[in-house]
């Protein structure tokens, strides 16, 4: 049907998996240089493949679907067949995700070579990192929800392993468990959503599900809302949104490059990707979109307020990540999917950069993570300073840095959207101010004024070039990465949004149905005939309005910068006074709204109580164990009774024999007489 050459998409995830196998099985016995060579090679290879695909992307017929010859799951009933394949899908959205994952992933691998050089379990670290790449690439390449779920679970596993990398530290081990368990709650939603899809559409393949939806324009709300909300639950788990976000700050127990790769740039954006991927579904349920928007806006604001007062540099960045993910959800909720993906990309650049730079700062201070013990590093580590500044300006949303364009797109679209609206836009705008404030606070505390360390730093030193090169590359991307999506109102061409148009705007059509699905050709044909599904109508904005909004958000960002400047540079004592005056409010923020304690009291403690006393105490040791020992006791008692018969006295045996014979005789006699 199409003249595409085979692209061998399956190689892209499989190569990192080979790297994982090599390092995982043999790495213990290999020298460090070889371990890192293997890891880098098997990450560079998929990057090269993806780059090759990107270069000839315009000549491909899209979407391109690749299936393995063997079906994965086939179950048939009398009326229907359910089938899931190892199938990979390539379209503009996948390509964007692939470029981000392999590109940022590769840079962070390079950085790790130096950052982890002196750590125990070097080979283990790189094996896990390659494993993560394998699952993440599977997730974005999958052509059906089931294969996506495999990747989804896999990245969760890799994340767990890497959070608990320093497993001898109890806090790291329990942070890993916390992340795993909270993700489990989300996965439960994802699973239920898949069951509903199987029940209603008989398939989990993207184009079959979406074609089925397109086929029935009258299908609105109802079970589609249920599926969308369940998918959203899955997304809140993976992407650390309210109410399941609490694992991400704790995930900072892992090595810093891991925080950069998994807990900032790639894995946590999987939820956003999933929602954008299934946008056809969300478009049909304004209610679900509204919920997505509210969750996104609430998370953005909430996490930004917490980030303002944290003192651990990585925790500030963690809450900032949650907040930025909130923006992406807000964009999804406003049905501005291209803006969400745009922000996902720029965020991957600048947040990856910020984490790596924070890692370099921590590295240069010999492991110090507390902002209160930093300061004055501008002169001693200039390259780190300049690259991190690029990240700070980008996340604060100042033009012409990348974050400005993506954040602006989100805010403007939010304002216009019927599912989000001006109130959520205002929340987003306030968050811009808070974002600028906490990022510049971090910036000032780290790099300006004099060192606040006890007795000064022990020779802070610039990181080696292996770490600086990824920083510089990401710095360049953080500055210029946004220029691919400059809207027409600001003199650009909105190239990024147009690039994604085929995925986000077009309904599934027969050309979308590329390969050998023959079960329901008619349904697909009908889908093409049916009218375009109506996304929630959006009033058209105009350029002047859009410019005004841009100016507004820049003013907010500058205001945030000004506040941080005032509090942390010009009048250093004022922050403390302010905190004292705010009293309760400050306490509330420092303790992160006591959410951890709340969850602990509401869920963990009752659950533990229930498990310990009811399940363990009563059910397990009482009923299950008890029934076991009761059975054993009965047998033992009976045995003791019967044991007496085995006296060893031959005459008593003979006596029993005689009694038995007599009994049999009687039985036979009476038995016969009864029958005769």
């Amino acid at each position: 049907m199409t003249g595409n050459p085979s692209l061998h998409l399956w190689l892209i995830p499989l190569l990192p998996f080979l790297g994982f196998l090599l390092n995982g099985l043999l790495g213990r016995h290999l020298p460090k240089a070889l371990v890192s060579t293997i890891a880098l090679l098997f990450t560079a290879a998929p990057l090269a493949l993806v780059a090759g695909i990107a270069l000839r992307f315009s000549s491909l017929t899209l979407p391109y679907i690749e299936r393995t010859a063997m079906p994965w799951i086939i179950t048939s009933t009398a009326t229907s067949t359910f089938r899931a394949d190892f199938a990979f899908l390539l379209d503009p959205l996948t390509l964007v995700m692939l470029l981000v994952v392999t590109g940022v992933g590769f840079l962070i691998h390079i950085y790790s070579v130096s950052y982890m050089a002196h750590e125990e379990g070097y080979w283990r670290y790189f094996a896990y990192l390659n494993l993560f790449m394998f699952f993440m690439l599977t997730l974005v390449l999958a052509e059906n929800f089931l294969l996506m779920f495999v990747g989804w679970e896999g990245v969760g596993l890799a994340s767990y392993l890497l959070i608990g990398f320093y497993f001898l530290r109890e806090s790291a081990a329990s942070a890993g468990i916390k992340a795993f368990l909270l993700n489990r709650i989300g996965d439960f939603g994802f699973l239920l959503a898949m069951f509903l899809m199987i029940a209603h559409f008989g398939s989990l393949s993207y184009n079959r599900v979406f074609a089925a939806i397109a086929e029935h324009p009258q299908m609105q709300g109802g079970f589609l809302t249920a599926i969308a909300l369940l998918l959203l639950l899955g997304a809140t788990g993976k992407s650390a949104q309210i109410p399941l976000y609490v694992w991400l700050p704790d995930a900072m127990e892992g090595p810093t490059p891991v925080s950069a790769l998994i807990h900032a740039a790639t894995m946590v954006t999987a939820g956003v990707y999933m929602i954008v991927r299934s946008h056809t579904l969300f478009d049909r349920s304004p209610f679900a979109l509204g919920v997505v928007a509210v969750i996104g806006a609430a998370t953005a604001l909430f996490a930004a307020t917490v980030a303002m007062v944290q003192t651990d540099i990585k925790r500030v960045l963690a809450y900032s990540t949650i907040s930025q993910l909130g923006y992406m959800f807000l964009a999804c909720g406003a049905a501005a999917y291209s803006a969400a993906i745009f922000h996902l990309v720029t965020h991957a650049f600048f947040k990856g950069l910020l984490f790596l730079a924070a890692g370099a700062v921590i590295h240069s201070l010999g492991g110090q993570q507390d902002l209160r013990a930093m300061g004055g590093l501008r002169k001693t580590i200039p390259i780190t300073f300049w690259t991190m500044s690029a990240g700070v300006f980008a996340i604060a949303g100042l033009p012409p840095f990348s974050g400005f364009f993506s954040k602006d797109a989100i805010l403007y679209q939010t304002f216009l959207s019927p599912t989000a609206g001006p109130i959520l836009w205002f929340v987003g705008l306030v968050t811009v101010l808070l974002t600028a404030f906490y990022m510049f606070r971090l910036w000032y505390l780290t790099f300006f004024a004099a060192s606040r360390a006890e007795g000064g730093h022990e020779h802070p030193h610039e990181s080696p070039w292996v770490m600086l090169v990824p920083l510089i590359l990401l710095g360049v991307l953080s500055v210029g990465g946004g220029w691919i999506g400059i809207p027409s109102a600001l003199g650009g061409s909105g190239h990024f949004a147009h690039f994604l148009d085929p995925v986000l705007a077009a309904p599934p059509s027969p050309s979308y149905e590329e390969t050998r699905i023959t079960m329901d050709e008619q349904g697909v044909a009908r889908a093409a005939a049916a009218s375009t599904p109506q996304a929630p109508a959006r009033p058209a904005g105009n350029d002047n309005q859009e410019r005004l909004f841009s100016v507004l958000s820049v003013i907010m960002a500058l205001a945030g910068w000004f506040m941080a400047d005032l509090l942390y540079r010009r009048k250093p004592g004022m922050a403390g006074q302010l905190a004292q005056r705010a009293g309760g409010a400050y306490e509330l923020l420092v303790n992160k709204y006591w959410i951890d304690q709340l969850y602990n009291a509401l869920i963990v403690v009752p659950l533990l109580f229930l498990t310990r006393y009811l399940l363990w105490g009563a059910v397990d040791s009482g009923i299950i164990n008890g029934s076991g020992s009761a059975a054993a006791g009965t047998v033992r008692g009976l045995g003791a009774l019967v044991q007496r018969v085995q006296s060893g006295n031959i005459r008593s045996y003979a006596g029993w024999l005689a009694i038995g014979a007599a009994a049999l005789l009687l039985l036979t006699y009476f038995g016969f007489s009864m029958h005769v």
Binding site: N649, R651, A654, G655, A658
Partner: protein, 103 residues
């Protein structure tokens, strides 16, 4: 009462007496006597079934019983010899004492 059932009744009484003797007597010789009694009850059954059974012609039953008596005589000789040997060794034929000593 048919002659057969009369014979069987006598045989079963004989058997019961023999069994009781074999199980309850302390003296080993009397236990042996009890066993002989049970054996003879069985012999009596043989003869009765042969005599009143459907094939009374050939002397099968009689031959059986003669064999049985012969074997019983041999067995009694062996049993008595054993008891004598035990008696020489332990100076008693009381089974209870013998068991107790063994323990």
């Amino acid at each position: 009462m048919t002659p057969l059932s009369g014979c069987l009744l006598v045989a079963s009484m004989l058997f019961a007496v023999g069994l009781a003797g074999a199980l309850t007597r302390r003296n080993a010789i009397l236990v042996l006597v009890g066993i002989e009694l049970m054996l003879n009850a069985a012999n009596l059954n043989f003869v009765a079934f042969w005599r009143y059974g459907p094939h009374a012609g050939p002397v099968t039953g009689m031959v059986f019983v003669l064999f049985s008596i012969g074997v019983a005589a041999a067995e009694a000789a062996v049993g008595l010899a054993l008891i004598l040997a035990v008696y020489r060794h332990t100076k008693t034929t009381d089974l209870r004492q013998l068991i107790r000593r063994r323990q």
